[in-house]
Amino acid sequence: APIGKTKLDAGWLAARSTDVQLTGVQLTTTHPPSSPPSPPWMEAAVPGTVLGTLLKNKLVPDPFYGLKNETIIDIADSGREYYTFWFFTTFSCSPSGNQHVDLQFRAINYSAEVYLNGHKKVLPEGMFRRHFVDITDILSPDGKNLLAVIVHPPDHPGRIPPEGGQGGDHEIGKDVAAQYVEGWDWMAPIRDRNTGIWDEVSVSITGPVKIIDPHLVSSFFDNFKRVYLHSTAELENKSSWLANCSLTIQVTAELEENICLI
């Protein structure tokens, strides 16, 4: 398989967790939802929010049109379970013997459990953190993988007082999450508090050694005549043997499309 990242941004399905009687293990082994979906499953907005998925399926009116937001039930009244959703997709991945595969979530609001081919991984709470799951050993031998994610809303979604107000009852501030969702002087409350897989999901294939979070910094001397680029990266050797590596950095300037100066 080629080295690199593949986004999982299409073909997702979703269902309200209380409408699904199956476990994550069953969903990702013997009883995956059918495609095209039948109720309670629906096409999902990933990346996006539960409310975005409901709107995509015309199950709620557009909250930003007129005063339609008033007709959507708030999580304080519905309970957190109402906006707790399963998300499901499939993907193909067939790494070779020396390759390793990470499933990456760039952000989830607020916590989740991931099931891949019957194996469970917990994604802890926090709206602004990445999750990396090494799935090399749990990929399906036939290359077709079943992925289900149950996403839980913030722990403290709070309640909006009848008079509204800045940030509702402020409960959302107890979590590490966006706080505008309880409403502000310029904004109506967001009914699901932005619950969902709200940023990129991807599968990343590497060889034994993986590059992690490079850091680039420049320093300047002599009125910007002499400039240095400082670069640092973490490297992880996932193999069980000493890796002899050649690490290369190259800086190019694009003169025209596809013509670069090195």
Binding site: R129, V227, N237, N244
Partner: protein, 237 residues
């Protein structure tokens, strides 16, 4: 000068941190905010090849050479910015997020941010009650020359203000806050447009969080104003 390879051995099942010897540039094209010059971006590519296997991983980024400094003006209490040594008259827009349902497509970011540039703005402030914005947001701020003032997630919801009174001690889990902050910094730190991290909206976070953020985000002494460097520090650079 701008291509360098290093051989290294990495023990099994382990992580190492590696710093390249600095790459030298003579009079590189600089990155400027909207209205002050071009937003020149270089392609930086890092690859790792493993002997006997070949390419193992690669990483790329559009990097802009720029030096951003800011200080509080003692006369006015306002914050003054300089980019590449030149003072900037800040014309900023306040930003929460592009869409309340978080339909944050690249196309949408491009349109929104270009609109700010077309309005002759040169800064966007990401309010603490909204998001730590996404890499695509920062990419287009790099491309269109919008400096970004990024706040962490502290507002009247967690500082003891408001009615009813909010928890005065920030989010319940301070370690989680710092974990998210550190991960966010790693996600965004290489963008040319990233100008300033701010603890929260119109206030400082609880003391322990504020101290940790200030400590973690402190500029390394080697990158302080070059005039203040000793000869030995310059040699290290």
């Amino acid at each position: 000068e701008h291509l360098q390879s290093q051989e290294l051995k990495i023990p099994p099942k382990s992580r190492v941190q590696y710093t390249f010897p600095p790459l030298f540039f003579y009079k590189p094209e600089l990155w400027w905010p909207n209205g002050m010059g071009k937003q020149f971006l270089y392609n930086v590519e890092i690859t790792v090849d493993v002997k006997g296997i070949g390419l193992s991983d690669s990483w790329g980024h559009k990097f802009g050479f720029r030096k951003i400094e800011s200080t509080i003006d003692t006369a006015t209490g306002g914050r003054l910015f300089k980019v590449n040594g030149q003072p900037v008259f800040i014309r900023g827009g306040n930003w929460i997020l592009s869409d309340g349902l978080l339909r944050l497509s690249e196309k949408r970011y491009k349109t929104d941010i270009r609109f700010h540039a077309d309005m002759n703005f040169n800064m966007i402030r990401c309010w603490g009650g909204g998001l730590a914005e996404r890499p695509e947001f920062y990419h287009y701020c790099d491309v269109y020359g919008l400096l970004v003032w990024q706040e962490f997630w502290i507002t009247g919801d967690c500082d003891g203000r408001g009615a009813p009174i909010s928890n005065p001690n920030g989010p319940l889990d301070h370690d989680l806050f710092l974990l998210c902050a550190r991960d966010t910094v790693k996600l965004l730190r290489n963008h040319a447009s990233l100008a300033l991290w701010v603890g929260g909206n119109e206030q400082t976070p609880p003391d322990d969080i504020n101290t940790a953020l200030k400590d973690d985000l402190r500029l390394h002494s080697l990158f302080q104003c070059c005039n203040e460097l000793s000869t030995s520090e310059k040699d290290i650079l």
